[in-house]
Structure formats: C-alpha cells, structure tokens
C-alpha cells in the first residue's frame, strides 16, 4: 500500500507494536471509508482489542501511521476523540455512580451541556427499556443492562466513528436484535462502525466488510460474500476456522472427551 489517505475515516499504515519481547501487532494496513461497518474478528489474543486501543490513543508506543478523519493521532491534537464513541471490552465503569450520573458525566467530558445530556440519556435509556434503572447505581445492574448503558454512553455525543469491542456480550437475543438494527441504522446515517465480536452470525449479517486478524496480522479483508466464494465455505464460522488454520477441532474434541472419561 502507498501513503495513508486523508479522505478516509480510518487509514493505517504498517502499524506495529511490541510489549517487551512479545509482538502484538505486526504491520497492519487498513483503509476504512466513511459509512462502512467493519467486523473485526480473530482468535483470542490476536490483537483485536489492542488495535482498537491504539487507535484511541491508549497505547502510544506503536510504530507506523494512524490517520483518523485524515489527521495523524500522534500529532497531539485530541479533537479526534470527540468524534469517537467507544465501548471497551472490559466494560469498565464507575460502579458507585448511578446510570444518570455516569451518562451525564461522560457526556460532559465530550463537551455536552448538562441538561441536554440528561434529557438525551433519559430517552435513550427509555428506548432500551431501562427507565427504572436510570437512578440506580451501576453496581446493581445486570451484565446486559450495563452493556446497554455503555452503549448509550458511547453514543450520547453523536460520534462519527464507533469503536465497539464486544458490544453484544451479555445481551439477550432481543437486545442483540435491537443493537444490530441500531448499528445498521447508524451506518445508514453515515457513521463508520468498527467492531469486534465473537458472535459470527451477527458479524456475518451486519458487516459491509470483514477483517480477520491472526497473531497481529490481517489475514483476510473482504466482504462476506467474497470470502464465501473465495474459500468455498458457507458460514463465517467455517471461514474463521479455515483461515485461522484450525481444523483439528474434531480431533481435539475427541481427545478432550477421552481425557474426561479417564476419571
């Protein structure tokens, strides 16, 4: 690839990262135009969350270039963060705050006005059927509820680019459906969405494009249809298995059960 392109939402060239002797990312090149929904998949420990954290400026000792909205994030201008919404994988929140306090606080960090943030947060909570939890401490929320609050907190300031790290974890089937449609609707409004997930059939359905990461490298980058054709597989799950070179699952399963039977 040539030099990074400033007219894209995301443009990454030769992104590399080491933790001590461990190589996490080894040369990632990526161009994402505005309005695209990118599903980012890969085995555990492939570097998915790290890529997202690096783009958010949480990890700084990388080499290579990252342009978001056409600007190099290493240049020290933080305004790009104001246009990003982020749902972290670890679902970390200040648990002692109520949902209202937390959401308003986050919105204020994005520069929103207090009353407006409160009103907006309240309506979004209502749409997620969480009215009754608006004044509750986050620590008393269930996993799925917390995930919804996180999602709201990432959207309050109407960001142009969304980084969602496992946004569906803990959600029930109905909520997954709502979130899926919300993402599609956001994309239709020109938002760029970059999300990682392990739930293959969701990724398969809502992504314009699928990126597969393995040991810090992008090993597949195409639409689902194209990948299907290229690899002669029917589902993303099979594609995932094939590309990550994982064919022994049956053998492992057999051995696993054999070991279980030993007693």
């Amino acid at each position: 690839m040539n030099s990074p392109s400033p007219s894209l939402a995301i443009s990454i060239r030769n992104l590399r990262l080491n933790y001590g002797l461990k190589t996490i990312l080894q040369g990632i090149d990526l161009d994402v135009p505005y309005g695209q929904v990118v599903g980012y998949i890969g085995p555990n420990g492939a570097g998915k969350s790290t890529t997202i954290k690096t783009m958010l400026g949480l990890v700084t000792n990388y080499t290579g270039t990252i342009l978001l909205f056409g600007k190099d994030i290493a240049k020290g201008d933080l305004s790009f963060k104001g246009r990003i919404g982020y749902v972290p994988e670890t679902a970390e929140m200040y648990d002692a705050l109520t949902a209202r306090e937390y959401l308003v606080f986050i919105a204020e960090l994005y520069g929103m006005e207090r009353m407006r943030a409160d009103r907006k947060a309240k309506s979004l909570m209502h749409l997620f059927d969480l009215d009754h939890m608006y004044e509750a401490r986050l620590s008393s929320l269930s996993k799925g509820m917390r995930q919804k609050v996180l999602l709201i907190s990432s959207l309050l300031h109407n960001p142009d680019l969304l980084f969602l790290d496992e946004p569906l974890s803990g959600l029930d089937a109905n909520s997954v459906m709502i979130v899926k449609d919300v993402l599609a609707e956001l994309a239709a409004h020109g938002k760029t969405i970059f999300y990682s997930s392990h739930i293959m059939d969701v990724v398969e359905k809502i992504s314009d494009r699928i990126l597969l990461l393995r040991s810090g490298q992008i090993v597949a980058d195409d639409t689902f249809e194209a990948l299907k054709e290229k690899l002669h597989e029917d589902s993303l799950e099979q594609i995932f298995n094939q590309i990550t070179g994982f064919e022994q699952h049956e053998a492992i399963a057999r051995e696993f059960v054999a070991t279980v039977q030993e007693v």
Binding site: Y19, L56, V59, M93, A96, I106, L109
Partner: protein, 555 residues
Amino acid sequence: MRDYLLLTFLDRFSFLFSKLGCNYPIMRKILQVKLTLDARRVPTLFQRAKRNEKSDQARNYSLRALVMYGLLGLFLIPFALLQNVFFSMSIVFAIFMFIIMTALIADFSSVLLDIRDHSILWTKPVDKKTLSLARIIHVSYYISQITLAVTVPTLITSLIVHGVLFFLYFIVTLLLMDSMIIAATAFVYMLILRLFDGERLKDIINYVQIALSITLVVGYQFVGRSFSILQTHIIFHTAWWQLFLPPVWFASSFAWLFGSHAHTLLIVMACLAWLVPLAAFWIYVALAPIFERSLQKLVDDSGSRRARRHVFTEIAAKLVCTSASELAIFHFLALMTARERDFKLKVYPSLGLALVLPFVFLLNPAFTVGIASLATSKLYLTIYAGALLTPSILLMLPYSNQHKAAWIYAVTPGLTREVVFKAMIKVVIVRLALPIYLIDAAVFLGIFGIHIIPDLVIVFWSMLIFTMICFWLVPKKLPFSEPFQTGQQSQAITGMFLMLLIAVFAGTHFLATIIPYGRIFYLLLLFIAAFVSFRYGFRFPNFSLMIKSKQRPSK
C-alpha cells in the same frame, strides 16, 4: 452528587489552572465524580438501587481515621518542645514523613493506581494534562487531610513556643514535604512497574500496609519514653551523611532561619529542603503522562506465574488431614488465604501485629529492668499475646468479594460442614497461627533460655484449644462464602471477649508454674482437652451445606 468544599475552594484558583494549560471545568467534573466515588466507597457490595444523592455524606476520609492520626500527632508534642531546634525538627519531620508516606501507600494507592480511568477517561477528548492534574489534586487533597490531622498539635505547640513566623514557615515546609512525598511515591511505583508487573506492585502495597500497622503499635510503646527525652541532653551535630536524610534538610532550614549559628553544610541542606521537593514535584508533573502509561501494565496483566510447590503446606496437609475431601478443602483454603487480596488486606496486618505483640509487651519491662533480668522472670507468658488475633481471623474468614463462588461447597457430593470446618481450622492453625507461634517461640528461646521449652509446649496446646473455643463462639459460616458487610459490631464484641479469654489461659499457665508439678499436670490436661475438642468439636446438629440465597438477608 454534591458540590464539595474542595471544589468551591478550587474555583477561586480556576484562572491558575487555566494558565497551566488545563481545562478547568472538565477537571472540576472529574474531581467531583472522584470525590463522589470515594464517599460511596464505604458500603460497597450489594446495596440495591435506591441509594441516591442524599446518602453522600462528606465522609471523604473517615473521620475516625483522622482522629487516630490526630492522636498520633499529640504524642509528637514533646519532640517539638526540645530546646535544640535542629534536633527537634529532625525528629518531628522524620516521624511526619514516615506516617504520611505509609498512609499514602496504604490508603491511597487505589487513587494513584485507578486503572478504570484508562478506558473511561482517556478515551474521551480530555487532554492528559487535565487528567494528570485532576489525579494529583485528588491525591494531594487526601494527603493534606492527613497532614493536617497529624501536624495540628505540633503546629499549635510551635506557635506558642516559637512564635508566628516559625509557625508560618512550618506550614510552608509541610507543603514542601507533602509534594516531595507524593512525587517520591509516584517515582517508586513507576520504578516497580518498570521492573515488575502489577501483581507485584499490589503485593508490595500489601506489605507496606502490614508494616504500617505494626509500626503504629510499636511506635505507641515508645511514646511513653518520649517524654524522658525532654530531660536528657542530646548533642546532635550536622554531619555529611545527613545530606541523604530528607527530614534533616527540613530541620536544617529551621536551624538556619531560627537558630543561632549557620555553617555551610547547614545552609546546603536547607537549600535542599526547598529545592528538592519543588524539583521532584515538577518532574512528577512533567512525567505524569509516562506514569499513567506505565499504569497500562496494571491493565494488561497477563503474566501467568510459575507453578510453585509449597512443600511445607503439602507435608502439613498430609499430616493433619484425615480424609481426601478434607485434604482438598485444606489445599483450597491454604491457597485462598495466601492469595485472596481482600482477605490478605484485612487479615495480614493483624498477623503482623500478632507476631510483634509479645515483644511489645516485653518492651516496657525491658526498659525498666533490663533484658538480662527478663530471663529469670515469667514474662515469657507474653507469648500468649500472639494468639490475640486468632478470633479476628476467624471472624474475617467467611467474607469474600467472590462469595458467589461458594456454590462449589453445595455441589460437591459428600462434603459436610464438618469437613469444611475441620479443614478451615487446620488451615488457620497451620498456615496462620503456627508460623507466628514458631517465630515468637524461637526468639523467646533466645531471650529466656531453653528452660522455657516445657512452657512453650503448654502454649502450643493452649493455642490449639483457644482456636477451637474461638471457632465455637464465632458465627459458623463457610469460609469465603459471604459478601463483606459493614456493620459487624456484635461480632467485634465476641472478638473482645475472646481476647480476654487468652488472658485466662496465660493466668492458668502462670498458676501452673507456681504449683509443684503443676506444669506437667496442666500439659496433660491440655492434651486431653485438645484431643477431645478436635474429636468432637466439629459435630453439630446442623450439617446441611445449604448456602443462603443472596436475597435473604443474612443475620
């Protein structure tokens, strides 16, 4: 969220912060959230929803702790009264620095090392300067509270004895001292995180907490002595090696400004007192982003540890456990008591205390009659103090942050309460009480001589029986099966009562030493009692392993 006094105070200086290049309104909001979080931290687990704004009391740092620090400060008054300003200030600052530094490490590491900030705050369009400044102010706020509590008695004394100027300068130096302590602590954390991983840092913090609680107790013992220093005439001169002692720098600046004679070394050290704290704090502010980055290491803590074999525990387990399931529970509890950080935080400081208490009780007699004449006395009975904290260990054992994992007891077939409690008591004895006893006993042998061996054997058996009595009297709950509660007052009373009981054991032992052949009979008696209590002490009418569902309020 309420508007904290600190915030309205800071508002007056908002122009200063803006000048420093930080976004004041945002910093204010972050601080407000942080203070709210702290205020709500006290009762953490399982409060259901409805607690809202009204419950935010201004209990930022528990008032009781501040009073404790204030009392500690009272004891420093005699030092502030000493004639020699250089000497008196050296001592005062040495003690201040120790107390404040350990308090910072023990109580506020969570503030310095809050890693939630990473994913929550750092991903927002807030510049690093504002974030670091918010953190620095947050920590400084607490440190000032403690400093104030500890120093107020000394400050007032100095105002009366040395006058207003001295008093004002004292306040300035205290500010310098605090900034140096904060910077130094941050540097140490940075270094540790560079060299080791986050787990190690948490361990080190744990050890500091233990050290703090021990020093406080031992420190109080010397307080009584401190007044006698007033009479003695101590000659304390400057020397080159004092260049490495920060408390002496501060004292030098006092000696230079308010003392009679000045010489080069004194002036050099006085300058250090002004320059080093400012420089250190400035470097800290400048390096804060790097500090924050090294915190990342706390987040991605992926290091798997080497499998270590605990030979002692394994052998002991085989010796004391009678069934396979008991052995399994023993190993499980041995690991939990060694690893569970919350348990360690609450119990290990008491263990450290238990270790030194026997010596603490020896201190005053040692001062008055001398170590040599101790050997012929019966003061070795103070070793019973080592068992003083067994009740509080037993009282802490049922609680855990991961109490829900206690379902394992319920699903394990054939596991009775009897087995779990047997293993629990054995773990308490083998892993917690025995090491303390052995160390204390070894040192006591050195002090009193080998003729106390029979007595040490008696102490050992008494300790076993005492542990069993404690076990009978505390509420019998499965280990690590309940959430931490705030109000455990009724249990505290049980704990107090049990501590008195240890005195009864020591008293009986004392009687046995007076009566001819008393010790042999007593030992025999203890032996039988121990045998019986271990044999039948675990049989309760209620053997069910039902775990209370969390909805039902536990009594």
